[in-house]
């Protein structure tokens, strides 16, 4: 029920732990995007969906990017294709660590 905080009144936690990654997790292990999710939830809490969509755009985009890494992966793909193009033209040779010739040091 929306305005009756039943679980809060009874002091129990039936399903709040499922609803968000930022809730209490077993063994206190934080989710990967815990910070972004927390920011977004705090930003968009209690102001309704339409206002949240307008006002919390940055937090939401950061959260989405953290979860799916679309922009990151796209950027990495462009770098990789450009590097392959340059190698094919012959104007760039990858350094030894990128051609598998160096030993992995910590």
């Amino acid at each position: 029920m929306p305005f009756v905080d039943l679980q809060g009144r009874l002091g129990i936690n039936i399903d709040k732990w499922i609803l968000a990654h930022s809730s209490e997790q077993p063994y206190k292990r934080a989710a990967r995007c815990h910070a972004f999710e927390k920011e977004w939830i705090e930003c968009s809490h209690g102001i309704g969906k339409i206002r949240a969509k307008n006002e919390c755009k940055l937090e939401f985009e950061d959260f989405y990017e953290c979860m799916h890494r679309e922009k990151t992966n796209k950027r990495q793909y462009e770098i990789r294709t450009q590097r392959d193009k340059l190698v094919k033209e012959g104007s760039y040779t990858p350094p030894p660590q990128h051609s598998g010739k160096d030993e992995m040091r910590p």
Binding site: R32, A35, F36, E39, L58, E61, D62, E65, C66, R69, K71, T72, N73, R75, Q76, I79, R80, Q82, R83, L86, Y92, P94, P95, Q97, H98, S99, G100, M104, R105, P106
Partner: protein, 144 residues
């Protein structure tokens, strides 16, 4: 045919001995209760041994975990140095590779925030060999 002395196969004088025809099922060995007792006794002994050894194994496991906990700062520091080294190399290579691409910002942050965001494995191993990424991700490299 009278009593001519013919050699025949006759019973021994005095007849044969007594023939055993009654059943002979002697009760021997442990009784039922005794067998149950022995079985349960062996089981209980086995359980007790296993319980003791399992407790010892738990102590040994805790010792291993404590050793890992003691080493954690070192391992974390090594891992952090590694991450930073890979990021630095990627940044420098990106500056070299993308210098002819118009409108490219080297080391551009994909997030709106200025906080440190832990890089993903794909990001760190982007320019390295694919096998290294697979080995790091899945910890084995048999089916490619």
């Amino acid at each position: 045919m009278a009593s001519a002395k013919v050699k025949q196969d006759m019973p021994p004088p005095g007849g044969y001995g007594p023939v055993q025809y009654k059943r002979n099922l002697p009760t021997r060995g442990p009784s039922g209760y005794a067998m149950f007792g022995i079985g349960i006794g062996v089981m209980v002994f086995g359980y007790w041994r296993i319980v003791k050894w399992n407790r010892e194994r738990r102590r040994l496991l805790i010792e291993d975990l404590e050793a890992r906990i003691a080493l954690l700062p070192l391992l974390q520091a090594e891992s952090d140095r590694r991450t930073l080294r890979l990021m630095r190399e990627n940044l420098e290579e990106e500056a070299v590779i993308m210098k002819d691409v118009p409108g490219w910002k080297v080391g551009e942050n994909m997030f709106h925030t200025e906080r440190w965001v832990a890089p993903t494995l794909d990001e760190l191993y982007n320019l390295r060999l694919r096998e290294e990424l697979i080995q790091k991700k899945f910890d084995f490299l048999k089916y490619m």
